[in-house]
């Protein structure tokens, strides 16, 4: 029923906000963002639901706001998921080609994909995505479609993203409880990179970092395929918490200080300066050291980037990021964060913009909405694929699946 419709909604239940983006897909498959709804999220910590009732309430607010703005009724959504339990790894499937003429058939491809998906996961985990990378025919690298080629041994690399089944199911159930259908569950990191990266950038190699409220997702693309992904359960909340602890102020005040005075690098101007905290009547309550504020934030963000850099180093991907690093998410608004990331990664860093889609500029310019916009884009690609498959026998669909 909804498959015929050209309205696509993306829902991201984040740690600091719940955000719904509505897109409209025209007959050519082009996507236009027509609605946006958001509300503060109160029942989520580190990307995972801790208070379902509150989340449900916030979710309704956000959805109705988006419905009003887009003037449509949202019936189903593409749901973004994240959390510290989500992991990504690469797996290789092998399949010997047994036919007499050694020609690789579509069946062989299907078999090798099945083999690559047969992975050893902890019992409680479930696969969110299994994304095909490249085929190898007799060890020859970089084959994107081996059907019709000759070979004895067909291999394929898969990037598998998996997470704790029950925790993922919690969110899905919650959304279903608000009488919304969940079309698909998408890892936030993939959604974000869909929104931010162009095909050229994916081909060149790029790292996308989405620093949210409770989690930071990072995804590496190179040669047009996803190479690496991961989640660190560290985000903007941690910065606020550090400030609250270090400056001895309440958490809400720390949050405010972060937004008003935060910086990713300690500026010379801040040295020796203090900030006065005033109450509602304008009376001074306390003075906090400006330099300390910036140092605490700087240390936390630098550590976050270093952890990601270490991870990439281990995966051996540091030299493949020729398009550079793209940062988005709410915490990417911290002044100086690009500079800090450049210092850590020693390469080009740019704030990410969801440029590949047209529509409401309000929504597209904000780094917080990248994941939700990416979810809509994911939905549009899926719809398009479904529409085109009968005509092109799924070839284009298969190519799209790689993106």
């Amino acid at each position: 029923m909804f498959d015929d419709s050209n309205i696509i909604a993306g829902l991201e239940i984040g740690t600091s906000k719940i955000c719904v983006v509505v897109g409209e897909q025209n007959a050519d498959g082009a996507l236009n963002i027509i609605g946006l709804g958001q509300s503060r999220s109160r029942g989520v910590r580190k990307g995972e639901v801790i208070n379902p009732e509150q989340v449900e309430e916030d979710l309704r607010t956000a959805v109705s706001e988006a419905e009003q703005m887009a003037d449509v009724e949202i019936r189903s959504v593409f749901l973004g998921v994240s959390g510290g339990h989500v992991r990504g790894f690469n797996n290789r499937g092998v399949h010997p080609v047994v036919s007499a003429d050694r020609e690789i058939s579509a069946d062989d491809v299907e078999d090798v994909l099945k083999n690559a998906k047969a992975i050893n996961l902890p019992a409680e985990n479930t696969v969110i995505h299994a994304v095909r990378q490249h085929f190898f025919v007799d060890g020859q690298d970089g084959v994107s479609n081996p059907v019709g080629m000759l070979g004895a041994r067909l291999e394929v690399d898969m990037h598998v993203i998996h997470g704790h089944a029950n925790r993922l199911q919690n969110v899905v159930r919650l959304v279903r409880a608000t009488s919304l259908e969940v079309n698909d569950v998408v890892f936030n990191g993939i959604a974000t990179s869909l929104a931010l990266l162009t095909n050229e950038q994916k081909e060149l190699g790029a790292l996308v970092i989405d620093i949210g409220g409770g989690t930071t997702e990072f995804v590496v693309y190179s040669d047009g395929v996803i190479r690496h992904s991961g989640v660190l359960a560290v985000g903007g909340d941690h910065i606020s918490n550090d400030l609250a602890y270090g400056l001895k102020v309440p958490l809400t005040r720390a949050e405010k200080l972060k937004l008003e005075h935060g910086a990713a690098l300690v500026s010379d101007a801040a040295k020796g300066q203090t900030i006065s905290i005033t109450n509602d009547l304008g009376l001074e309550l306390k003075r906090v050291n400006y330099e300390h504020l910036q140092r605490i934030m700087s240390l936390r963000l630098e550590e976050l980037f270093r952890l990601i850099a270490q991870d990439l180093e281990q995966a051996g991907l540091t030299d493949y990021l020729r398009a550079g690093v793209f940062i988005c998410g709410g915490s990417s608004r911290v002044p100086g964060i690009v500079q800090l990331a450049e210092n850590v990664f020693q390469m080009n860093v740019a704030p990410g913009h969801a440029g590949a889609i047209s529509g409401l500029t309000v929504a597209l310019d904000q780094p917080e909405f990248a994941a939700a916009i990416g979810l809509v884009k994911f939905g549009s690609l899926k719809n398009r694929r479904r529409a085109e498959r009968p005509f092109f026998k799924g070839i284009i669909g298969r190519l799209l699946q790689r993106s």
């Binding site: 580190k46 510290g84 918490n241 050291n289």
Partner: protein
């Protein structure tokens, strides 16, 4: 000039006299298996209530405990009868033990003779001034409840009467052998473990040592501890023998895969090898044992035996206090027996046995969470390579804000 007493004293100090007692039917069987050339210096004695079994024994000394009232039927599986018979003949037992330094008691607990006589024999032997080590087996589960409870009761008595008890629950062995092995094989394996134990201690005492473990050291480790001992004898040969031996120790079923070492408060390690024993090998074995042991007192010995050729044999005895753990025990009490080395038995015997209330006090660790995690206090910690990322970075890095 040396007086005859002095001569006797020096002899005792260098080569202790050993007597091995087999008690009951199971003990007799073990004794027969033991009576090989290897133990030529030891004296064998069999004690039983069953005359027929005793007649078949190869022991040099045979003590038949009998009472007319029982009409030659033996103890009939009742440890109280065995006990009564042994107590009746206490002086005989004591005189049989006289003049011996070390007494091994081999018995299968659970029946009448083994369970009843062993504790009495241990007591008699101690009164005669010997160091008493008991090697006993506990019955299989399938042998029934009664035998199990009898064995447990006897084991408790034995622990308080003997200096050290090496106890081998047969059921534990049952799990180690494969299903198809015959009954005879099963008994041979269980017996084999005990025999290995006796052999280990034996070779410890008799073989010329490079780093000698004296009889005194053994006394210091075992006497008056009334300990529950765990015992392992492993051997390996070839180039990687030290590593192999360490692996075998750490996976030994009788040491509970090394856990026993961590809980014990005294450990004796004896290495025996051919002439090619290297310091590096000793070091390797001792390092890993030490790492396992934690706070235990370690006594170590090394001996060369040309007959072993390529082989490296390691004997580990871990002693653990068996008294129920009490929360506070003054530390000073724990090592009263340590200086009693050198085979001066009078001194040791004269001292009242220190009955320790429990094992040594364990320093518990207080949770060091001075840093509150604030907002993330109750949530699952974000651990990344051993660091809790929820704790502010500047705290973890130790950066002072002033």
């Amino acid at each position: 000039m040396q007086t005859p007493e002095q001569n006797a004293f020096f002899e005792t100090a260098s080569a202790p006299s050993v007597k091995i007692f087999g008690v009951g039917n199971a003990g007799d069987a073990l004794l027969n298996a033991l009576a090989t050339a290897e133990f030529s210096g030891a004296e064998f004695a069999a004690i039983n209530t069953d005359a027929a079994a005793l007649a078949a024994s190869s022991a040099t000394v045979k003590i038949h405990l009998e009472n007319k009232l029982f009409r030659g039927l033996g103890s009939g599986g009742d440890p109280e009868r065995g006990r009564a018979l042994a107590e009746e003949q206490f002086s005989t037992l004591k005189s049989a033990c006289a003049g011996t330094n070390v007494i091994f008691i081999l018995a299968g607990l659970g029946g009448g003779a083994g369970s009843g006589i062993s504790p009495v024999l241990a007591k008699a032997a101690r009164e005669a001034g010997a160091l008493v080590l008991a090697f006993v087996t506990l019955p299989f589960d399938c042998e029934g409840n009664r035998r199990e409870t009898q064995a447990q009761a006897s084991l408790e008595q034995l622990k308080s009467a003997a200096d050290g008890v090496v106890c081998l629950p047969s059921q534990k062995i049952f799990k180690l052998i494969d299903e198809n092995s015959t009954l005879v094989e099963t008994f041979r394996v269980t017996g084999g473990f005990l025999i290995e134990g006796v052999r280990g201690v034996w070779s410890l005492l008799t073989r010329p040592g490079l780093i000698q473990v004296h009889f005194g050291d053994l006394c210091a480790l075992l006497r008056d501890r009334h300990a529950e001992n765990a015992f392992a004898f492993v051997e390996a040969s070839g180039a990687g023998r030290a590593r192999e031996v360490v692996e075998k120790i750490l996976t030994h079923p009788l040491l509970d895969e090394g856990r026993v070492l961590a809980e014990s408060d005294a450990v004796l390690v004896s290495l025996t090898a051919g002439k090619d024993l290297t310091m590096a090998e000793i070091n390797r074995v001792m390092e890993s044992v030490k790492r396992q042991c934690g706070h235990a007192q370690i006594i170590m010995g090394a001996a060369a035996d040309a007959g072993l050729k390529e082989k490296l044999c390691v004997t580990v005895i871990a002693a653990k206090q068996h008294a129920p753990p009490a929360s506070v025990t003054p530390r000073t009490e724990t090592r009263t027996t340590a200086p009693a080395a050198g085979g001066q038995r009078e001194v040791v015997v004269a001292r009242p046995r220190p009955r320790r209330a429990g094992s040594k006090p364990v320093q518990t660790q207080l949770p060091l969470t001075i840093v509150s995690k604030g907002r993330f206090d109750k949530s699952e910690p974000t651990l990344h390579r051993g660091e809790d990322l929820d704790v502010p970075t500047f705290i973890r890095r130790g950066i002072a804000l002033n």
